[in-house]
């Protein structure tokens, strides 16, 4: 509904200005005032970068890769759970093993949040079958198996990172990979290793493979 005011006398000779006109004038003014800003943005975007921005959300191919990563992490939760129950750990050792189990649990949860209904949310049976024996024996054997497995996870994340197109997934995988890289050094030290090549993981393990 339009509200107009009519006046008698000289004022009545001027054209009537309704609310629509006022609003129209306001929008026009706002558009004019934004022109320099928008022009600057256009100029900046043309001159500040020469590369095309990558897509943010995971692509269809990314979803499969990130699903594999989540299966690795969920498998590690079960493996560390097995290890914690299998040996008589000191308080310091137990604190590290429990922390690493919780860390893998959080990695899986973060990947689940990214993947939504596409998240597998199940560990890899094949990976569990190939690794569980190492996590079930004596303490030294467990630490050695965990060291190798974490190194294999770092290598797997490296392969995944080299294929991911979306940056959301890449950023998450990178932050997981960085922490798991440090896990290797911590596990080596926990087992009493002093060899620099072992502490710094000069020889990265083969990438873990998820086949179901």
């Amino acid at each position: 509904m339009e509200i107009e005011v009519t006046q008698a006398g000289p004022a009545a000779a001027s054209p009537r200005i309704g609310r629509r006109h006022v609003l129209g004038a306001g929008v026009g003014g706002a558009a004019l005032s934004l022109l320099p800003f928008l022009a600057g943005r256009a100029q900046a975007s043309a001159g500040d970068t020469t590369t095309t921005a990558p897509p943010l959300p995971p692509t269809d191919a990314d979803v499969a890769l990130l699903g594999q990563a989540q299966q690795i992490e969920l498998t590690f939760v079960d493996l560390f759970e097995t290890a914690i129950a299998a040996a008589d750990w000191s308080d310091d050792e137990a604190a590290v093993m429990v922390e690493f189990r919780e860390a893998h649990k959080e990695y899986a949860a973060a990947l689940s949040a990214l993947l939504g209904r596409h998240a597998p949310n199940t560990p890899s049976e094949s990976l569990m079958g190939s690794l569980v024996a190492g996590f079930s024996g004596a303490k030294d054997g467990i630490l050695s198996a965990a060291y190798d497995a974490e190194s294999g996870a770092v290598a797997a994340h490296d392969e995944i990172l080299g294929q991911l197109q979306g940056t959301n997934g890449a950023v998450l995988i990178a932050s997981i990979q960085m922490a798991e890289a440090r896990h290797c050094t911590a596990l080596a030290a926990l087992s009493g290793a002093t060899d620099l090549a072992q502490l710094l993981v000069d020889d990265e393990a083969d990438a873990l493979q998820v086949n179901g």
Binding site: T51, A170, A181, A186, L199, L200, V201
Partner: protein
């Protein structure tokens, strides 16, 4: 009387004038006062100065900095070179000798530092190869901002302290140079790791991200190994750690962090306050842009370093 009688009317007029001054009169007086003040101010500014003719030089403008894959990778190479140069300088200054009460189990850290130095030289080469592959040029110098605003300041505080100023007493050299040197190496390794991780979100090619993280993974492990050598048993952060200078730990957070890495050390000032510097991942003010100049840094003629 006549005279008096003739003066009386004018005296009356003067007496009645204020009563006749209205609002307009006050405005006039105010306006006159303002004009007088402006004229006085103009007169002062002109006193003793000659006017200039012609146009002065315009405000200089920096070239537009393009942040693309090449600039990002060259910047990463510069960070790695700065770190390697810092280690070399620290070794030359003998900062890794002796012992420290802060880290009694440290032993001789030279094997670690030498391995780290080699890693960062190779990391710089890796980033430069990627930059050249992206159609840009290699950068074989350090990062000027990291060198001047962080590393130089820390090393100067450790070795020389700070001379007295007009309003501040002198600060002596470090009370524990080895402790500070180890902490600086830990911070620089963590910086390298977090910078590599931060690059993942910035470059556009998956292969570049993976290559960057290979560097970051190694730096993260360097930091962890050093932490466990200096602080055996320091696997995880201790909640409520009340130490004045917290000892480094192997796994400081559950996820890899791109946050700042803080150095705390040097001798305290007159109030006992030590130097605290937050080393942050590269930002726009530390980029090696296409127009960035070498300055005093001469390019290294290394056959393994790609050049264009």
């Amino acid at each position: 009387m006549d005279q008096h009688s003739t003066l009386l009317p004018s005296s009356d007029a003067a007496a009645t004038q204020p009563a006749g001054m209205g609002r307009r009169g006050l405005f006039r007086l105010g306006g006159l006062g303002a004009v007088a003040a402006v004229l006085a101010a103009c007169g002062q500014s002109e006193a003793g100065e000659l006017g200039t003719l012609g146009n002065g030089p315009g405000t200089p403008e920096l070239p537009a900095g393009t942040v693309d894959n090449g600039a990002l990778l060259r910047t990463s190479a510069s960070i790695e070179t700065s770190i390697a140069n810092a280690y070399q300088r620290m070794m030359d200054d003998g900062l890794f000798g002796g012992s420290t009460a802060a880290y009694p189990d440290l032993g001789d850290p030279m094997d670690l530092v030498m391995a780290f130095l080699d890693h960062h030289r190779m990391a710089a080469d890796t980033y430069n190869e990627l930059a050249v592959g992206a159609g840009d040029t290699a950068w074989t110098c350090g990062n000027q901002r990291l060198d001047e605003q962080y590393i130089d300041i820390v090393l100067s505080r450790i070795t020389d302290g700070v001379p007295a100023a007009e309003n501040a007493a002198a600060i002596p050299a470090s009370d524990d140079p080895l402790r500070d040197a180890v902490n600086l190496v830990y911070v620089l390794e963590s910086l390298s790791a977090s910078s590599a991780q931060a690059l993942v979100d910035q470059v556009t090619e998956p292969a570049m991200r993976a290559a960057s993280m290979k560097v970051g993974v190694r730096s993260g492990r360097d930091a962890a190994a050093l932490a466990l050598r200096a602080n055996p048993g320091g696997y995880l952060p201790v909640s409520g750690d009340a130490a004045e200078i917290p000892a480094p730990v192997a796994v400081p957070s559950r996820f890899g962090s791109v946050g700042a890495n803080t150095f705390l050390g040097g001798a305290g000032d007159e109030n006992g306050v030590r130097l605290r510097l937050a080393f942050e991942t590269p930002s726009l003010n530390s980029m090696v842009y296409s127009f960035t100049e070498y300055g005093d840094c001469a390019p290294v003629t290394d056959s393994t370093t790609p050049t264009t």
